[in-house]
Symmetry: C2
């Protein structure tokens, strides 16, 4: 998605070799007009998979998931929670997700009643790095018996290996689409694979 690559280069910030900051338009401040474009692109890529629900991870996946849901006909969005709220009294599905940046493990939780066996689920997230969050969401869908019809990431950092892990976990019939794939971050320059 060329407009996204341009936005990453123009408004993003490369930090070292591992991190690109996009907090001016994606995961702290959200450019709502641009979010619409992201949603349209996910809609174009996944309409033929006929998802019934979108699953994402709080917090920064929520905006992208809503935009994709709007483009796909106002699908419900379910966001996995990283802390179990005291009001969540029912049975849950969960997966433990490691954060390489923070060096911590957090539990991603979904109420069982919102994911049902056979339900066609599209997973959407803002970043795909080592693939931990994506693998956690795939695991949650497997626990529920839901069918993962695909996964969409706004920005994939290819060199961190998550894309390969997710593709293997998805298997045949479900595709991973990343709207921008970063192949390298070096000396403040962000390079993309096309």
């Amino acid at each position: 998605m060329l407009s996204l690559e341009e936005k990453i280069v123009h408004d993003g910030l490369a930090l070292g070799t591992q991190i690109v900051k996009v907090d001016s338009f994606l995961n702290h401040q959200i450019d709502v007009a641009f979010l619409h474009e992201i949603g349209q692109e996910f809609g174009r890529l996944f309409a033929d998979k006929h998802p019934a629900k979108i699953l994402t991870m709080e917090s920064s996946g929520i905006g992208c998931a809503i935009a994709a849901a709007q483009a796909l006909g106002d699908l419900p969005v379910l966001f996995a929670k990283k802390t179990v709220p005291s009001t969540m009294v029912e049975d849950i599905w969960y997966a433990d997700v490691k954060s390489f940046t923070k060096g911590t493990v957090s539990r991603a939780v979904v109420a069982r009643k919102f994911l049902t066996a056979g339900e066609r689920v599209l997973i959407i997230d803002d970043f795909l790095a080592h693939g931990e969050a994506g693998m956690g969401m795939i695991e949650i869908c497997r626990q529920a018996g839901a069918v993962v019809v695909g996964m969409g990431a706004v920005i994939e950092k290819e060199f961190q290996g998550g894309g390969a892990r997710i593709r293997e976990a998805l298997g045949d019939g479900a595709e991973l689409h990343s709207l921008a794939v970063i192949s390298q971050i070096r000396d403040g320059v962000i390079s993309f694979r096309h």
Copy 2:
């Protein structure tokens, strides 16, 4: 907002006298079609205040804030973070926010560069209970010298006193609008004030 009250009664769940669960359509699973209606209502209520930006709190405020932003002409949405990411290296504004349900205090953080003096800010959140999150966001705007032109909450629990605190803090010229105001939760019955 009558359709919201009906949705709370129909899809919500009253727990004891303090909690109403709306995780089937608002803060775990999101009803994206209904979210559009919520956004339209905030747009109608706040268009004449001419906000330039919407401020909300992660995670469950994000959806409502995006919907309001879309209704107001694709305003940028800024969401305060409850944990400081390792990639957030710049100067921050912050406020400490107490959670009465969890009995904890967390720090809500915003990068200084995204809130500027004189900027017209509309605060949006899903719940208004004791008013802690709202007061924290007002405090963050004050630190930045931003102008709070109003605050919108989807659901206010009037009996927890947050509305009165927020109205006093907003002062003249800025209004609080809650789309549904719950006056009492008792024996599984949710009562509204009109």
